[in-house]
Symmetry: C2
Subunit: 562 residues, 2 copies
Amino acid sequence: MPSTPRKILIIGGVAAGMKAASRLRRLDPEAKITVIERGVHLSYGACALPYVLSEEIEELDEVRKTANGTVRDETFFSMVKDVEVLTCCEALRIDRKNQQLEVQFLGGNQQQQLPYDALVLATGSSPLIPPFPGRDLAGVRALKDIEDAENIANHVASGAQAVIVGGGLIGLEMAEALKSRGMNVTLLEMQDQVLSGILDSDMAEHIHRELRNKGVNLRLQEPLQAICGKDGHVQQVTTEKASYPADLVIMALGVQPNIELAKEAGLDIGLSGAIAVNEQLQTSDPLIWAAGDCVESHHLLNKQPMHLPLGSTANKHGRIVADAICGRPTSFPGILGTLLVKVFGLNVGRTGLSAAQAQASGFDPVSILAPSPDRVHSMPEARPILTRLTIDRSSRKLLGAQIVGSGEVAKRIDVVATALSFGADIDQLAQVDLGYAPPFSAAMDPLHQAANALRNKLDGLAKSLSPLQLKKRLNTGEELLLLDVRSPEEYAEVRIPGTTLLPLGQLRAKVSELPKDKLIVPLCKISLRGYEAIRILKAAGFEKVAYLEGGVLGWPYELERN
Amino acid sequence: MPSTPRKILIIGGVAAGMKAASRLRRLDPEAKITVIERGVHLSYGACALPYVLSEEIEELDEVRKTANGTVRDETFFSMVKDVEVLTCCEALRIDRKNQQLEVQFLGGNQQQQLPYDALVLATGSSPLIPPFPGRDLAGVRALKDIEDAENIANHVASGAQAVIVGGGLIGLEMAEALKSRGMNVTLLEMQDQVLSGILDSDMAEHIHRELRNKGVNLRLQEPLQAICGKDGHVQQVTTEKASYPADLVIMALGVQPNIELAKEAGLDIGLSGAIAVNEQLQTSDPLIWAAGDCVESHHLLNKQPMHLPLGSTANKHGRIVADAICGRPTSFPGILGTLLVKVFGLNVGRTGLSAAQAQASGFDPVSILAPSPDRVHSMPEARPILTRLTIDRSSRKLLGAQIVGSGEVAKRIDVVATALSFGADIDQLAQVDLGYAPPFSAAMDPLHQAANALRNKLDGLAKSLSPLQLKKRLNTGEELLLLDVRSPEEYAEVRIPGTTLLPLGQLRAKVSELPKDKLIVPLCKISLRGYEAIRILKAAGFEKVAYLEGGVLGWPYELERN
């Protein structure tokens, strides 16, 4: 401990900044810890704001409270944590040579120089809003902080028109929130899928179906062109294809790290555009650390730099920065890009790399899509989930997972994230002693089912096609025999167009009637009987066989129903 | 592939046996595969039977069906899997020398000799029913198979008396099931806690509270003495302390492996009393494999042999045995003792070793108890869970977890099980990039909260006492200052007897009034403010301080309410 208490300045008082301040106080009772926050609100849970707007969370203040109901304001941090917080105070310039930070209170005109022994940049990120015409109209807003939520709430009205620009995490959460408030919701996405870069296209198709089923007007490949208004208020949004009436426009095009201070001070900026740090979250100046949404992360699997701001990472950063400043051994290993999002009745998650990302990183990816009930299928609460696992062919190491379904998704994502953290291979994943009881899981967990299906594929026991692969082959006009091996009753209810019914129980008897010159693609509800059919056909000497991964349940495209 | 199809016999047609048969067929289209099953039902989900009896699952047949509604009977296995199943057929004797199995159909008197090239013992386990007087009365039954469930169902009647003997997994599930059917339920447990050997006593206390709150007459330390009846039907159950009227008695004292055939054939039996196998599940006879509930497992962490029959293990075994018989590389690494159970409104799970088990295995265990909401606390669905993590002091390696609460437990248990499988230490667990979104989790997952609390304890930042440790010290008459640092409103609502109120916000100001000569134990609702108080007291020169792990929420003993 230094003889005079050290002075620690933290710029930014939301997640990483306040976490760092609290931990610093616990580690160093003597230090003078000051947080500079431009806004008025501290330490709030920004990720919960869509749920405030949906009114699931009844009071906006809830996102600023501790679990026991205390509002985390300046008084709280002063009384409980002995941390000084300057709100409405802007950090203007870092004077690295003299170890000083120039600040100014908003609305004031006096600059102050605050000296520091250690400086933490927790400057966060800001919504990315390209300079569209009309972006400054009332009723046009991104959702980033409490003021945004308050502003948006004033424009929410049942029966009114909302346009959401961008089908990322916040766009999807807001689609659900505004729909639940009775608004008519149009979602504009410039790509041909939502969650682009997060989910494979055939996984995203399930979200498209859910959005449409829930009444969202989903417009893919329709980038925003302009926003028009009258008397300063938004009225209409136009694209190349159409125009949409709008009382409220949510700009959800992603965020960018707030790096201006760091850049001006000459600190290194990473390839991702965020502040570059070492494993101790130290910037290129050894007296300056950075934490949270403004920081560049590295992916644990391909070591690529990336900017993926998340509250979970920010909280980890806060602790690490405090430990590092206090000279305690610590390091941040990197991220896996783990993401969860609820979209109406669908739970969606991913972690690690997609097959395309893995390929681009030099891996040789093999994937499987496997649907399962999320618990013992006879339990009335059982719901399906679709699991896509990706591994590296030669090392058999797990590379990632994407899971979508109305059943329990988050658990399986977290298990895969944990396995990925320890370099698990697919054979190890298949053996983990996961918990089993009918209300929670099945004797074979969906992850074990998927892992075994992938092992079968890898070991040459069963060729298979993903929905997207099959769709592409059908689109080329290739003649395939799509053999639905379910029961006549199941087939009558819902089926993939162009399929032929041959129930599995009759397959062994009728196998000689099948053609050997074209690819036979057996399929069933989930894929187990499809796989079974492959083994029967192979045993009968058929070489050109590949089952449809995911079956009817995993088929995200057109279905026929009676 | 041999020139003549090999003959594979499997004894037992429930989980491991049928799974092995199905996989064997897929791997070897030529083999003659025969399953010998003593009962009439195949491949059913025995773990779901309590949920049939609660009528959550509407039809008993559901537990015999595939996910798409086909009953898995002899015809199904013959038509779909080309596997011959002999039901009502008992395996009498293994003739290892001549590679023959002697079988006899029930009710028949002719023995048959079935030759085998490979034999699989999937003989399962049987309920342990000591020779109590009255155990054969009508209305006295263990729950193991479909016949048991049918029998028990006939004795279920609203308003009637049920006595459950044994507070293990099935005893607890049946307490809930029978209570939900309107029965008066008495649960007799000979130990001083339910789930003995599974949960620590202060974790089990939460289950005791839940059972009593839900109207179960829980009788601890009351072993069954006798069962009395009239006209062949049970009427009453007696213990040393009392007697209880009974129309239905569920014997839930655990199970024992069915090893008679193996033992008679001279195969090695393990220390746990189950059939000893190598990592390929091969018995001491290289032509005989064993799988499922009859097999001895080894704990991954302490390598101890144990008998813990579970459907999840049985399914893994089935695949491994099939692979091993077909000469494919495979092995079963061992188990972690992962268990989940739902007890009314509480979700309960454990994996790995408890502190006591770890100590007995030569580790130097350190534990923490940390309560957290299971997701962002402002979400209306948020519910608390209590997490106990145990690690080894010097290596910092994770040893186990126990989690209890009305919130989401299974996910965290599975994450810990996965981390344990890969030898994770506590610092690695704290860094895993788990999924975060308000409907599913918090920015700091409960596991991260617990891991960080444990790291603080390990690193000397905060001493703490578990509820049991504090209770024991109070019981010795030691004078402690139990300092409740919550708000007056929280304190008024519910508190631990003998505590003094001093809200955290006033602690810094009033710290000089506190005594330095006795141990001060700060506590709050969950432990975060208690930990905060420790840091304030330490900074003020107090040496004798230790916060109460788990706070009021984690306190399983008496509480005072206004």
